[in-house]
């Protein structure tokens, strides 16, 4: 049977209603997506059915996971954070500047840590071998960037506005425009891979991936804000997006050092 957008819309609505009911019954605010979110079909055979085992940090002396890989200047080059300068010519599209801070849950900056991004080009096509979307590749755009956060946790990328793209999960399935982000904290437990979206995208209600975050406020934290002060005169539109890493125990371990 053909899976339609209407089918997916109903499943999304049902899961949203179920979350509202859990909240009404005194359940906790859910800041993260559920691992088994059926409207996103790929999750069905890939999510664990057993709950994760909680590590008792007091009993476990090894604490390997409470430290983190560290990256340095030798790991990146100067133009890695400018996706418009990685080829001989300029990529097609609206240039954007994306900047913000990487913070821990207590609001402290995560310093000198690696931020990686990847995205589709302005036509909604990835420079990836298995990509099947019939939109033009841009010979001047790979769509991959890296940078290290500064002492205040700031990162900054120059790129082009990615296009939305179709993805075939169901008939007329489209992903809202997004930039994929990969982040490290001060503990391996804080490791985060996520996606940044753009303000007021009309595709949000139809997309089961962003809707997997059923809490409205949490989902809003995936959306950047337009920031005129980040726009570069005669050059680019500015977007601001701060990222806050989870990881409760990393905090007090750091303070104990």
């Amino acid at each position: 049977m053909t899976l339609t957008q209407h089918d997916i819309d109903q499943e999304i609505a049902a899961r949203h209603a179920a979350y509202e009911q859990r909240l009404a019954d005194g359940g906790p605010v859910e800041h993260q997506p559920r691992r088994d979110y059926a409207p996103y079909r790929s999750s069905m055979l890939r999510h664990p059915q057993q709950p994760p085992v909680t590590i008792d940090v007091g009993k476990d002396p090894e604490l390997v996971e409470l430290s983190s890989p560290a990256f340095g200047e030798r790991d990146i080059t100067e133009i890695d954070n400018d996706l418009t300068r990685q080829h001989d010519g300029e990529p097609i599209g609206e240039r954007i500047t994306v900047s913000g801070r990487l913070l821990d849950r207590d609001g402290r900056p995560v310093r000198g840590q690696l931020v990686e991004i990847w995205q589709a080009n302005s036509a909604g096509r990835y420079a990836h071998q298995r990509e099947q979307h019939d939109a033009p590749l841009d010979p001047n755009f790979t769509g991959v960037g890296r940078t290290l956060t500064d002492d205040d946790g700031h990162y900054r990328f120059t790129t082009v506005q990615p296009g939305p793209y179709p993805w075939r999960q169901h008939v007329n399935a489209w992903r809202p425009a997004h930039i994929h982000f990969s982040l490290f904290g001060t503990a391996f437990t804080q490791r985060l891979v996520t996606q940044m979206y753009f303000p007021s995208d009309p595709l949000f209600p139809y997309d089961p991936i962003i809707q997997s975050v059923t809490d409205d406020a949490a989902r809003q934290r995936l959306v950047a804000t337009y920031d005129h002060s980040l726009s570069v005169p005669e050059f680019s539109m500015g977007y601001h997006w701060d990222i806050v890493l989870d990881g409760p125990h990393a905090t007090w371990i750091e303070e104990g050092r």
Binding site: M44, L45, E62, V64
Partner: protein, 162 residues
């Protein structure tokens, strides 16, 4: 207020993997071990689009991305092959286990587990039923170990949180 996780998606293999990402130590490094295995889904099918990250708990003297300089990095990455296999060449960890994190299309949040090279008394292992405990202990010995990650089902790997 923390930022929610989203899936790594299917199109990361031109972005996140890097040259020699799976080599935490160079070839011929004394005491190096290889860790290989497969990532399998709930139907027992190989997962050809997962990304695995290995962490030993120390930074080391070898570049994490550049692989320049010294002999040992504490961090590595490996994207699974079409048959769901992965491989790492690494130093032995200081403790009994290596930390392994898994990303894939379909995983809305990453999964964290541990690869124990031997079945030893351990606060995590000792709290598990025997069948569950066995999912965290690599097969093999000497310089070669095998560890499969089963995302779902009867022999589902134990995943952890903090």
């Amino acid at each position: 207020m923390t930022t929610p996780s989203q899936t790594v998606g299917p199109f990361f293999s031109h972005a996140l993997p890097y040259e020699r990402d799976w080599e935490l130590v160079p070839e011929g490094h004394p005491g190096a071990i290889t860790l290989t295995g497969r990532v399998l889904d709930g139907a027992g099918e190989p997962v050809p689009d997962a990304l695995l990250e290995l962490w030993l708990g120390f930074t080391g003297d070898r570049g994490a991305l550049s692989r320049e300089g010294g002999q040992v990095s504490g961090y590595g990455r490996c994207a699974t092959a079409p048959d769901g296999t992965y491989r790492f060449r690494t130093a032995r960890p200081p403790g009994p286990y290596l930390s392994l994190q898994i990303f894939a299309r379909g995983l809305l949040r990453s999964l964290l587990t541990r690869v124990y090279l031997e079945d030893v008394p351990d606060p995590l292992l000792d709290g598990l039923e025997p069948e569950r405990r066995a999912t965290l202990v690599a097969a093999g010995s000497g310089d070669s170990y095998c560890f499969d990650v089963r995302l779902q089902g009867a022999e589902e790997t134990v995943f952890i949180e903090f």
